[in-house]
């Protein structure tokens, strides 16, 4: 097993892909936290805890859930909205949950408005601009998600979560795999259950998201 751990950055001028450092993806029914394989149960708890601790917990929905290209996508989008509403209900004053879309993957620099959308080619701009310290990717194609997650780890201290519909993401600090409506709803339920039990981190980290 690799000694490397997938931790919040800023990690390096050009951080390595976690897979190249020996981090392996979870098998069905598992998840990973910081690159260590764990049970999904533990991952739900940790993801909810990170959301509730964050000053600006943010969900980044990608094209696979933003567009109603099939029935499943539409249901997932409704579940994502439910998770966001749950977050808003469960945070304390001073915390500011956000829902920022990644509508497509076109390189838009320097024209992008990073306040209102995130782009996989320069996701750090959105993290910095909005001082996001915890985020979750959902409905982003795996290649683009890995690209973003690595760039975020390289240049920000943001804690990254991936709710992946396929095999998961080593480049996130916490990753689920085989994401479904049920898994998104279960994460929302966990956030609700932990409401009031987690102390929010109301100052930015030392090398923080706002750097």
């Amino acid at each position: 097993m690799s000694d490397y751990r997938v931790l919040p950055g800023p990690e390096h001028f050009l951080p390595p892909a976690a897979a190249s450092m020996g981090i392996r993806l979870p098998n069905p029914g598992e998840a990973h936290i910081n690159g260590v394989i764990t049970s999904e149960d533990k991952a739900y708890e940790e993801a909810a805890r990170q959301f509730l601790m964050a000053k600006v917990p943010t969900i980044f929905p990608g094209p696979l859930v933003l567009w109603a290209w099939n029935e499943k996508a539409a249901k997932k989008a409704t579940a994502v909205r439910h998770l966001f509403n749950t977050l808003k209900e469960c945070v304390q004053p001073g915390q500011k949950p956000m829902l920022i879309p990644m509508p497509d993957y076109r390189p838009k620099y320097p024209k992008i408005n990073p306040e209102v959308e995130i782009n996989p080619n320069h996701p750090n701009l959105t993290i910095w601009h909005n001082k996001i310290d915890c985020c979750m990717f959902i409905g982003v194609h795996c290649h683009q998600a890995n690209l973003s997650l690595k760039i975020i780890r390289g240049g920000t201290s943001c804690y990254t979560i991936a709710m992946c519909a396929q095999a998961g993401h080593e480049d996130a600090m916490l990753s689920f795999r085989d994401a479904s409506v049920e898994k998104i709803m279960r994460l929302a339920d966990t956030v609700k259950r932990l409401k009031g039990t987690v102390q929010p981190r109301l100052t930015s980290a030392k090398n923080g998201a706002s750097s």
Partner: protein
């Protein structure tokens, strides 16, 4: 959107049943058949649910491209056509794969080199195309005999690279190769190599799966990148490349993109081990002498080991099946007891020996040879001679043979 699981058990237009791949490869009855390697490629593709095959049928190295044309005529392939050149073929393969098709093609030697620009492009665009490489000489004067130098050029393209020893490997690995390379966490092209002529033109008994079973179709909706769209990377990249923007963000994106390709090669490790039953095969690796080889050099190594046993010299064998992903830890473990590691190769530069030297501790143990190239055969006697010379044993020279 097709759900692969719901398709299992249904029939295609040729009456073949879409079958769970693990059952098809490991549990279905096999029929021994006496075929050339080229015919084996055809039989594997008959069962591979291929949508598109694009050919540049330069026949001497392999008849596979022409034989698959027969499959198209029989209705087993969705579309089949000839490109204007090898470069055109590989570009057209990319187009078909961008569109969401399962794609197959073949190449060899100079054709591989001519098409080379496309291979890193395939990897970068995450296109799980399968390309058979029936290796032959690449330099002037040309040769249609086997010479594996072209594999050295493929190793850094970001493609998966496997090296088959026998026609049986070829049959099984073509089918398993699609499953590995189409995994969403991998989704990379596969260069499935063999030593041309030896494998393609000679006949061997190959155990075939039933012809009425076939792989589940490719599901492009599991791809880690969107299907072809002129506005999205990677296609957008080609008309608006990051490199055109001279700033840190553009370069960092491109760098991350490259890292993601090699991360995907790493991720293929788990799937390749599952389907090929390991990245290497080993025999007697507790011996002081170990031969490490890939392709038909494994067969020659095996025969050399038998000959040495007759003289009381015990040798182990490591058959390297996957070159990308590279079996670094496996080779280290398999050679940990070896005092001498011999690497017989069918090429002039000894690329496999270089990889092994970079992998094992105490690399002075690695003897890069024997080498043959330009289409020469590798009699097992020259491997025996190389080993005996290194051990200080009396040997004879093959140079005088036939005089």
């Amino acid at each position: 959107m097709a759900d692969t699981h719901s398709i299992i058990g249904t029939k295609n237009k040729k009456g073949q049943t879409y079958t769970d791949t693990w059952k098809m490869m490991n549990e279905a009855p096999r029929t021994p058949s006496f075929y050339t390697g080229s015919e084996v490629i055809k039989e594997a593709i008959r069962r591979a649910s291929c949508d598109v095959m694009i050919a540049y049928p330069i026949t001497p190295q392999s008849e596979a491209a022409a034989l698959i044309g027969e499959l198209f005529a029989e209705g087993y392939i969705g579309d089949y056509f000839r490109g204007e050149s090898e470069f055109a073929v590989m570009s057209q393969c990319a187009g078909a794969a961008f569109g969401g098709a399962r794609v197959f093609t073949t190449t060899a030697g100079p054709g591989t080199m001519r098409a080379m620009e496309n291979f890193p492009m395939w990897s970068g665009a995450r296109l799980p195309i399968q390309m058979i490489v029936t290796c032959r000489g690449i330099n002037s004067p040309l040769s249609i005999q086997p010479d594996t130098l072209e594999i050295a050029y493929l190793l850094n393209t970001g493609m998966l690279v496997w090296h088959a020893e026998t026609a049986q490997d070829f049959f099984d690995w073509i089918l398993k190769g699609y499953i590995v390379s189409e995994e969403p966490d991998v989704h990379l092209p596969l260069a499935l190599c063999c030593d041309g002529f030896f494998v393609t033109h000679t006949k061997d008994v190959v155990n075939l799966t039933p012809a009425d079973m076939c792989l589940p179709p490719y599901d492009p909706y599991r791809s880690p990148v969107p299907c072809m769209d002129m506005e999205c990377p990677p296609v957008r990249m080609m008309r608006d490349p990051f490199v055109m923007k001279s700033n840190y963000i553009s370069y960092a994106t491109h760098a991350s993109w490259q890292q993601e390709i090699w991360a995907a090669v790493e991720r293929s490790r788990k799937h390749t081990i599952h389907w090929l039953n390991g990245l290497i095969d080993t025999e007697n690796t507790d011996a002081d002498i170990v031969i490490v080889a890939s392709g038909t050099a494994v067969s020659q190594g095996r025969e050399a080991i038998r000959m040495l046993e007759d003289e009381g010299v015990r040798c182990g064998l490591v058959k390297v099946k996957a070159l990308r992903p590279w079996p670094e830890e496996e080779i280290r473990q398999a050679t940990k007891n070896a005092k001498h590691i011999f690497v017989p190769e069918f090429n002039v530069t000894g690329w496999l020996a270089k990889e092994i030297r970079a992998t094992v501790p105490n690399s002075q143990r690695v003897h890069a040879g024997p080498h043959v190239c330009g289409g020469m055969t590798m009699p097992p006697e020259i491997i025996v001679s190389e080993i005996k010379t290194a051990l200080g044993m009396k040997t004879f020279s093959m140079a005088g043979r036939g005089s």
